[in-house]
Subunit: 459 residues, 2 copies
Amino acid sequence: MPIPAAAAEALAALLGPRFSTSAADRDLHGQSESYHRAPPPDAVAWPETTDEVAQVAAICHAHRVPLIGWGTGTSLEAQAMATQGGLVLDMLRMDRVLEIRAEDMQVSVQPGCTREALNTELRATGLFFPVDPGANASLGGMAATRASGTTAVRYGTMRENVLALQVVLADGRVIRTGTRAAKSSAGYDLTSLFVGSEGTLGIITELTLRLHGQPEEVAAAVCGFPTLEQAVECVTATIQSGIPMARIEFIDADVVRAFNTFAGTRMHEGPHLMVEFHGAPASVKGDAEAFGALAGEFGGTGFDWATTPEARAALWKMRHNAYRSCLALRPGATAVVTDVCVPMSHLPAAVAAAAEDIRAEGLLGPMVGHVGDGNFHAQILVMPGDAAELAAAKRVATRMAERAIAVGGTITGEHGVGIGKRPLMRAQHGDAVSVMAAIKQALDPESILNPGKLVPEVN
Amino acid sequence: MPIPAAAAEALAALLGPRFSTSAADRDLHGQSESYHRAPPPDAVAWPETTDEVAQVAAICHAHRVPLIGWGTGTSLEAQAMATQGGLVLDMLRMDRVLEIRAEDMQVSVQPGCTREALNTELRATGLFFPVDPGANASLGGMAATRASGTTAVRYGTMRENVLALQVVLADGRVIRTGTRAAKSSAGYDLTSLFVGSEGTLGIITELTLRLHGQPEEVAAAVCGFPTLEQAVECVTATIQSGIPMARIEFIDADVVRAFNTFAGTRMHEGPHLMVEFHGAPASVKGDAEAFGALAGEFGGTGFDWATTPEARAALWKMRHNAYRSCLALRPGATAVVTDVCVPMSHLPAAVAAAAEDIRAEGLLGPMVGHVGDGNFHAQILVMPGDAAELAAAKRVATRMAERAIAVGGTITGEHGVGIGKRPLMRAQHGDAVSVMAAIKQALDPESILNPGKLVPEVN
């Protein structure tokens, strides 16, 4: 459904050249990093203020135009794709760090600010924002997806690190959720409701984030294991022992092969853990030794310590580029990315079953994981146009999700629902899905906000 | 409005003697620990299973009977009082610890289980549940109120420590929110929505809680300060310095006087901090020394270390009994208890302004605070029946709340809204109140769940 002329005129009058229906702009905002494909949106807008977002929403609401938020376009379940047409709202011009309140360990930012840009601004304060999904995503997008990543095991996810939001509702009203207080019992937790709602309940126009002290000492290392099972069992034992890991990442032999081929490493082609410790020098030393001893019990060998900040940066850059390196293992391929998260005690069995399933289907699916919180991914490589292969990859993904549900886990630990996980929502949540639908209908009765995403059985 | 005969018959048929309309049972469930007064409920029920709760809800829904959850009756804003009549659901017979999953650091409990009963069951596991509001409250009630208390500065509030819930909805449907995974991005965060909803959206019938490792070493101490301002500034400096306090509690001279009079202490009658450190022996030693040095800078003297577990238990028991000790300062009095929480940098000014305001109104209002997260309370003592005094106390409470809002804080850090904070909700939340109302109406269209509480402008 193209945008009604009256709506397009109102949007053009409001935004001038920052409203576009050109094919180039639309195509740029119709891309996806994963296997999902959809036609481009009907138009793109680049608001610069909350008030403009509110006016855009009011126009879209009046004319029933779907409104889809867009950050850096790095979501993996098509959250930012205009699957029902409509207007994509590119938030990247609202990218300012509004106020750093160092004494309260808080910052207010606009949604288009990326996590790396924020941390660059914070460098001199002794504080940092820890949530790190790998991609240099926008903070608004990270909140909308309830993103997490490598450091969540220590610092929590966006759920724990967003203190308050400013949100534009479906009809253009602007609200603030939460306060600057560290905690509150003053009514429904609307901040938590909007975090993870993937733009289906409102458009985030400002975020108040918790900051953390930059650790006095940081140590990072890579360590190899004879088998996948031993590596993952080492993770479970580490977490259960209470060693306060800042990062504990699993990579399998295929990922190591990708690193060796495309990132210039010369690692043994077997499963590895990548770990990091934060804290006072004495405790970092103690934690690293305790981990080393545990790793040894599970056959861990060949510790390679990144001793300089540059070496650590290179290490985590390599990890963050794993997605692209693994894509390069099969030129031309795209990926079906799984994202289950299970209770720690079920992690070894879940990873082993996934590996076996991928092998049995004859697929190539390198696995990585933020395994310290039970979350791991298979990046199943499929060739565009190969329907049989895509179907096989989706079968594996569905079985991984079903096994996760069976042990009390979740179908998505951090990537969100979008359209990819939507068919599995009822299997995970049962009748709670109808509560989600009731909330969606209460807050967006015309269903203009990212329609067709997240909540199943609602248009 | 009495309960319709058909509803009473259905409830009696379902529950037998566990449904009562006797004056004694009703009176017992019409009490409040604070100044709020309301007639007793029309009836009381003691369900023993989730299915019974579901059937009770269905009956109440069909007959539009208000349904109010009841735990230990220790809420401070009349959350459990039947202000519009109806049925009080006493959850204390659903008090079992259902499953301890030590390897996942989780436990499943029924809502009537108290935090002390849970920790007694956990003693042998090396794990504990940290949230500690003072009262030995039921865990269901703590979740419903989004309670926190003395340890929130280190371990978080109920928001951070409830992983999932089973909830009976207004019409008797039963849902599960959340999973056993450490994190999830699978849709709206219903767990966070029900935590803190004070029984207005559903009745909690099961909780999955996060557990923490019992600290290897614990150290606790009391330390006096020359002035209130210096004590509170020491707190702000401590938190900003990053010392990982397990507890940091402020008590003013009036509270010390209550302790000296009723708890047998012989402390100097001035402001004090009560602190606790958790961790490995070396880090506890280092943290305690770092705090000691900081306290010295702010005039802290007379450190009294509780070196044995018994001494520590006595110390925190005294703190937990502060409410009753302070009530005893004025025999026959009841209390208007304030509960603001402000950003750390505003804490010293907020505490000083409250003290001055109480003094100016000629009131006695001992102050305590979980000041490590910016939360403090004045327990303003009023004589029942003295309308002028009650009005003065409410004026002070309202001004404290308004000052908190003005600096980005909250009207309630942990006690919740109930009926006491309801008139201030719009001042804090603005139009976000209408989002709360929309959610309330979507999930409880007949408004049978704890009607008249929390959400203003909704019956």
